[in-house]
Amino acid sequence: MGELKVEKHVEYILTVEKKKDDFESVVMEHLRLNGAYWGLTTLDILGKLEAVDKEEVVSWIMQCQHESGGFGGNIGHDAHVLYTLSAIQVLALFDKIDVLDVEKVANYIASLQNEDGSFSGDIWGEIDTRFSYIAICSLALLHHLDKINVERAVEYIVSCKNLDGGFGCTPGAESHAGQIFCCVGALAITGSLHHVDKDLLGWWLCERQVKSGGLNGRPEKLPDVCYSWWVLSSLIMIDRVHWIDKGKLVNFILDCQDKQNGGISDRPDDAVDVFHTYFGVAGLSLLEYPGLKAIDPAYALPVDVINRIFIGK
């Protein structure tokens, strides 16, 4: 319990970033771009983004770009929207979106919208509301929402709403906090939150808090730090965050730290990883833990980065 070990977490992330030839890193190499987003956004929230070599990162990111305009998870990998969003987000952190051929990237994303408004993840056609969020978030950051049919996109997301007020990955799929974040985030960005029954969804979300104060992603599951982000940001976006016990959640996240070696794990005493370190720190930021940069709940980027993009320097 107690405090956030900022220095330790910074050290942990920088170590992971350098150790890319370790077996653990190597087997994750197909999603290294996602890893870059988790690690670097955490550093920024902790106020330590300058600890990395900006030019090196930007240059590597651009090498991950595929001829289609989309980005692969690493150099030489096929394009997919999952990595395309991370690329845009990391470039945004460094205020380097201008190195992109914005038209090209935006066209790649827009080309993945289907007739019913849904989005495929890549040319192979898998549909998921995560990809709707990614497309909308990416295009908003690139100032190119005009390239898609926003109304249809919203319609599709709304069609994924369940009777319990939550959202799944496709129409009729089980409500899941991660998917809910994506749907609510997409609706927030497109100014369509009136489609959400906030009390009903707020109810489902606040029932994610378990005795320990942690949040789970679905009923009957164990709490996991990553849901501190997905459930929390969703509650904030629909203005129901007062329906959970914030103090207990803060304590849960702090309990998930490895105070000796840095990093945060999914639940207390488990092994740490960059993914959970990011969500723990981002969650604490949303909970207004002192000393952290504020993070935008819809775009999942620091507020000053978002302001820079939408309001100007």
């Binding site: 077996f23 999603l31 056609g125 009390d199």
Partner: protein, 442 residues
């Protein structure tokens, strides 16, 4: 013999030889070196040995002895099962990845130039370049398979297989892809790419090559098998829900029937109850489309729904404090109430004693159920307390969704105060406040 001493490309060749020699491998495991010794002991012991050493297979026989070789230290292959020593995972992965990426690059270059072939080239050259392309294609298929066993979400590898299969299109290739996906899922049941690859194959073959019903049955069974050890596996159950849109009406009813026993044995698995809800909603949709003049659809729905409600009630009383059961009941009761409200003539009558309408009877029953759940025995098991809380939020949730019926009746019932106090005690007064706000506006 350590992992470092063996040439990685030899390791890869050996793995690929095993995979090539046995297309029916249905299970892969990663074995710690110390356990590996035990597996190998069984293989190297003579068949006449009566010593107890070595594992027995499920049918009681011992594995047949295999020629001992250097690579036996790292691979175990028997009865369509494959074991790989964790010692060699690192070099094996790197070798597979490098081989794959290299072959894939060559494949893309060749197939691009093949497409652009000048029509003036003579037949021999064309045949030759086609053969080279064939060779590279089979390399891509071979290396991607090995790679995917070691890194199941390596998207580019799955994609390469789709590209090649798409060009060639023979049905057996599609079946191979399903087999590979099943193999990967056997040890990595949450692999997103393995599931989406499966859906891609099914979309390609449905109607054209294969019988939809068979595919649906087989994949539904696959999920059921995997779900046994992989609780509330979102991707697996999502796949099963995806199959529902391919089901005929009778298949939907059969699935409901056949999956009931399993659900009754997995009452903490929220995903399996959501699957039932999905099937029930599909059934309603089908009945609405059929819209029989004799009203048999209504009867069918009534019967099924009542059965489900009664069955869940039995489970709730038997398995005390199970959230998934209460949530399923929320769904069932909401749909039921809405249906009854459409049927019931006396619904808007707030002045009658309430005993005449089926809606009121149902609400009363549910309030009685709640009441029975608030009686916590002296032994004070946590589960009984959970049961009380879940039944309370269940009632409140329905009151919130149906303020003019459930909400009104709750307000007038003797359970009102009990409910309020219970929810307040567990810090859920926000839900209470939100619900009473909706109800007072009547």
């Amino acid at each position: 013999m350590t992992g470092a001493a063996v040439d990685p490309s030899r390791l890869l060749s050996h793995l690929e030889d095993i995979l090539g020699s046995d297309p029916d491998i249905d299970e892969v495991g990663f074995i710690h070196p110390t356990q590996f010794a035990i597996f190998n002991e069984a293989i190297h012991s003579s068949p006449s040995s009566s010593s107890g050493g070595g594992p027995q297979l499920e049918d009681g026989t011992k594995p047949k002895p295999v020629q001992a070789s250097i690579s036996d230290t790292f691979f175990w292959h028997n009865e369509h099962k494959l074991g790989i020593s964790t010692l060699v995972l690192d070099p094996l992965y790197r070798a597979a990845k490098d081989a794959f990426m290299d072959a894939y690059k060559r494949y893309r270059l060749l197939s691009d130039s093949h497409v652009n072939k000048d029509g003036k080239l003579d037949n021999d050259v064309l045949i030759c370049s086609t053969s080279i392309l064939d060779i590279v294609e089979s390399e891509v298929m071979k290396h991607s398979k090995a790679l995917l066993l070691l890194s199941c979400d390596f998207g580019t590898a799955w994609n390469s297989r789709k590209s090649i299969v798409l060009k060639k299109l023979p049905f057996p290739m599609f079946m191979d892809e399903l087999r590979l996906s099943s193999l990967v899922l056997s040890y990595s049941p949450k692999s997103e790419r393995a599931w989406s690859h499966r859906r891609w194959v099914i979309k390609m073959i449905t109607g054209k090559y294969a019988n939809v019903q068979e595919i649906v049955e087989r994949d539904s069974e696959l999920v059921k098998t995997l779900a046994e050890n992989s609780k509330m596996n979102y991707r697996a159950w999502n796949h099963r829900c995806w199959l529902v849109s391919y089901m005929s009406h009778s298949q939907v009813l059969l699935e409901l029937q056949h999956s009931r026993d399993w659900s009754g044995l997995h009452v903490a698995d929220n995903s399996c109850f959501h699957y039932r809800a999905r099937l029930l909603l599909q059934m309603i949709e089908n009945l609405q489309h059929n819209n029989d003049a004799d009203g048999s659809s209504g009867v069918e729905f009534h019967q099924l729904w009542k059965e489900e409600l009664d069955w869940v009630r039995t489970l709730i009383m038997r398995y005390v404090g199970r959230e998934a059961l209460w949530l399923h009941r929320r769904f069932l009761s909401l749909v039921w109430m809405k249906h009854l409200a459409n049927d019931d003539q006396s619904i808007s009558c707030n002045y009658c004693s309430g005993t005449c309408s089926t809606v009121n009877m149902f609400i009363e029953d549910e309030l009685m159920l709640f009441h029975s759940c608030t009686i916590i025995p002296d032994n004070d098991f946590g589960d009984y307390h959970a049961q009380a809380v879940y039944s309370a939020t269940y009632i409140l949730w329905l009151a919130k969704q149906l303020p003019t019926t459930f909400g009104v009746k709750l307000r007038r019932s003797s359970q009102y105060e009990v409910l309020r106090r219970l929810l307040n005690d567990v810090g859920k007064s926000c839900l209470w406040d939100s619900t009473t706000a909706s109800c007072t506006s009547i």
